[in-house]
Amino acid sequence: MSRITVDIDLNRVEGDLELQVDVEEGVIVDARCIGTLYRGFEQILIGRAPRDALVITPRVCGICGTAHLYAAVRALEQLAGINPPRHAGHIRNLCLMAETLQSDLRQTFLFFTPDFCHPSYAGHPMADVIARAFAPFKGRVARGALEASRNVLKLVAIFGGQWPHSSYMVPGGVTLPATGNRLLEAKDVLARVRAWMEQDVIGDDLDTWLAVPSGPELFTWLESVPAHRDGGLGLFSRFARSIGLHTLGRGSPHLLSFGLSPTPNGSRALAPGFFNGDTCRVEPLDQPRINEHVSHSWFLDYPGGRHPWQGETIPDHKPDARHYSWAKAPRYSDKVVQTGPLAELRVGAEPLITNLLSAEGDNTWLRQFARLRRATWVLRSMQETLSALGGCLDEPHFVDPKVGKWPDGQSYGLVEAARGALGHWVRIEDGRIAKYQIVTPTAWNASPRDSQDQPGHWEQSLIGLRIPDIDDPVQVGHIVRSHDPCLVCTVHFIGQARKTYACV
């Protein structure tokens, strides 16, 4: 039996992605995700004033900087016991959801669906209609997504000044209050984005679509009228299933979400939690269960996994087969997990995704479908949050926490970013940042093997795949892009031999 190793690089993701797969008789028998970029953010943060994290950490990621800002401010507020007013909470949630919606639209229609225009599908009966909708920069839905993603980000600018990379969430609240004027501007933005989503993506009223409760009713809905069939969502779903994406790319059965609670009374919240794939039950999130392994990474080895507060990151490049990535391997209760919209909606018990997951298991179509479902869920929540914000314009947007010197201690901030569970862990000593550790969604999903030799979630999702054309493995592209990779975020938090800080 001949076994060959193939290096695969892919674009239309965030950052540069490299994979190595071992192929036997046309089937992937092993896969390795390789982290190829190190930017050293943790080193840059050490010794700085705590609030500098609000400026530095959004720059970890150009597509989810708002989520990093939110995680950073939560960590600082936890440390100093600060409770921001609800006026600020609404604005923060609105901006986070705007960024998520932007990311979901761009990922789906700029990164994922262009693959449906691949030459190998030229003979597909839907090829023409797919090209008219999804051809890069030209297709109707692709063009609309460019414009809608620009529009929805105006909402972040209204309250935060600009997107990407602003720092308007600060300990104690936000820097700018909502006013009647800003509220109206935001309402107008959302109304336009909703109109486009209903017209060109869903082909139906948003609330009607969100009420679709189960798989059988979804498939009936999809085929019932031309508007459903030929919207961006209908075309994506019908084409993806016609090429079998609902049968490909099964990864880890365990799901992790840090949850989203867009309104303070918790109505319509997606709860945080851990979906245990062995028992098919959701367990409450227990942050201390998070740890990171380095057994297959280029770091000085330690046994088992360590919690981010205890993490040790001393580079140790070993050019052997066992070690292959600058990324660490985060685990939850030592289990490999996946995170992202599928996990967020299932852990939050959204009926349609819950039903589809139990019917077909996780797969490439479902991960991408869940992303679009989440985009529509978020859009409705944004309108509700905006209404709630309108009800507290007279309340403060910022309460000065009067922190002169930051107290010594350690804390964390957890946020459900567009790509899933994002955590910042910080330790302050003598009023300065002594340690900063970030575990990003893609770090969970794209992790290498751990000390028990369990492959990461992406690696699992590729093993067993049959690839007809090893030089142009279009199926690998579908599977990997369905994970919504963000490589720029993933492997930047390692130490460095030249300047090693004491990491307990």
Binding site: Y38, D52, P114, A157, F159, H165
Partner: protein
């Protein structure tokens, strides 16, 4: 028709994301109306492999009119460039090779121009910009490097670079319009405005109504770290996302178009001599500025003193 190749090095992809936010012109407008042909962009082009594009350009089969680099150039560890690789090859080597083929090279963002956030102390990756290491000329390509067209690297600075500025610089290059550069090789047309110009907190600054804590309506320059009066950028002349700017929203300007961004100090505090910022508005003499501020404070109307004006 001109070919554009966009390559990312040590970056967060924020300049690419900002480019997607450009409105005048939009990215699709550059493609439709300005004759841009995107040979490669890591997030956007349909082609799935970089290798064939790289080969076509370096062998001269494809002409490279405009090379855009996004991200710091990582030379570590120990000069190897292995902190940032493509197929085990240091990206800095690929950048050098592509730059030799390019008519024009554009640094999209402060990272590619000057090193940016990754070059902040202790500069763990030994990174730099294409022709500058922060304020020092040199960088990866050297001070004397010129593109085939005769210009040095055009530094579209900003973290991220302003969406419309990126799009307009590309449009000017596509149209063969002349581009004048300032002393940091930034296109002068977009860097001859201070962030302070057009800030809706200007009247507060005028009458010395300065805020000590975030969340207020006043000026952020004296206490909260704002560098608006010292920073050349169009942020308040050409609003972000067509809506606003950081300073309008009460976020200090961190000076992200400057070669020394991010400053090596508490970013939300202004270093001062006495009550007055150590770094004054560009070109202003200290004695005269202090005299002006004392008079201005005395002249401040009640609506300013009591922060009645919404920025």
């Amino acid at each position: 028709m001109k070919n554009i190749l966009w390559m990312q090095t040590g970056s967060c992809s924020g300049d690419s994301m900002a480019l997607l936010c450009a409105e005048r012109p939009a990215l699709e407008g550059l493609l439709d109306h300005f004759g841009a042909r995107l040979l490669w962009h890591p997030s956007l082009t349909a082609e799935t492999r970089f290798g064939p594009v790289l080969e076509a350009v370096t062998t001269g089969r494809e002409r490279l009119d405009i090379l855009c680099i996004e991200g710091s150039l990582l030379t570590g560890p120990n000069g190897s460039g292995l902190y940032d690789t493509w197929k085990s090859r240091p990206k800095i080597d690929i950048v050098r090779a592509l730059a030799e083929c390019a008519e024009q090279v554009v640094a999209m963002g402060t990272c590619a121009a000057f090193g940016g956030v990754h070059a902040a102390p202790p500069n763990p990756t030994d990174c730099m910009g294409l022709q500058f290491m922060q304020t020092t000329p040199g960088g990866l390509l050297g001070q004397n490097w010129r593109g085939k067209h005769g210009l040095p690297v055009i530094n579209v600075a900003g973290c991220p670079a302003h969406p419309n500025t990126m799009a307009k610089v590309l449009a000017m290059l596509l149209e063969d319009a002349p581009i004048a550069l300032d002393d940091l090789n930034r296109p002068a047309a977009f860097f001859s405005t201070m962030v302070h110009q057009g800030c809706t907190r200007n009247e507060y600054h005028e009458y010395d109504a300065e805020d000590d804590v975030l969340g207020g309506r006043g000026c952020l320059f004296f206490s909260l770290g704002c560098r608006g009066p010292l920073t050349a950028a169009p942020c308040n002349a050409d609003l972000w996302n067509g809506q606003s700017s950081k300073t309008r929203a009460g976020v200090p300007c961190f000076g992200c178009t400057s070669p020394s961004f991010p400053a090596d100090r508490d970013l939300f505090a202004t270093p001062r001599i006495g009550a007055v910022p150590k770094a004054l508005p560009l070109g202003v003499s200290r004695a005269r500025y202090m005299a002006y501020k004392n008079l201005a404070k005395a002249a401040a109307p009640e609506r300013i003193v009591e922060r009645k004006m919404e920025p």
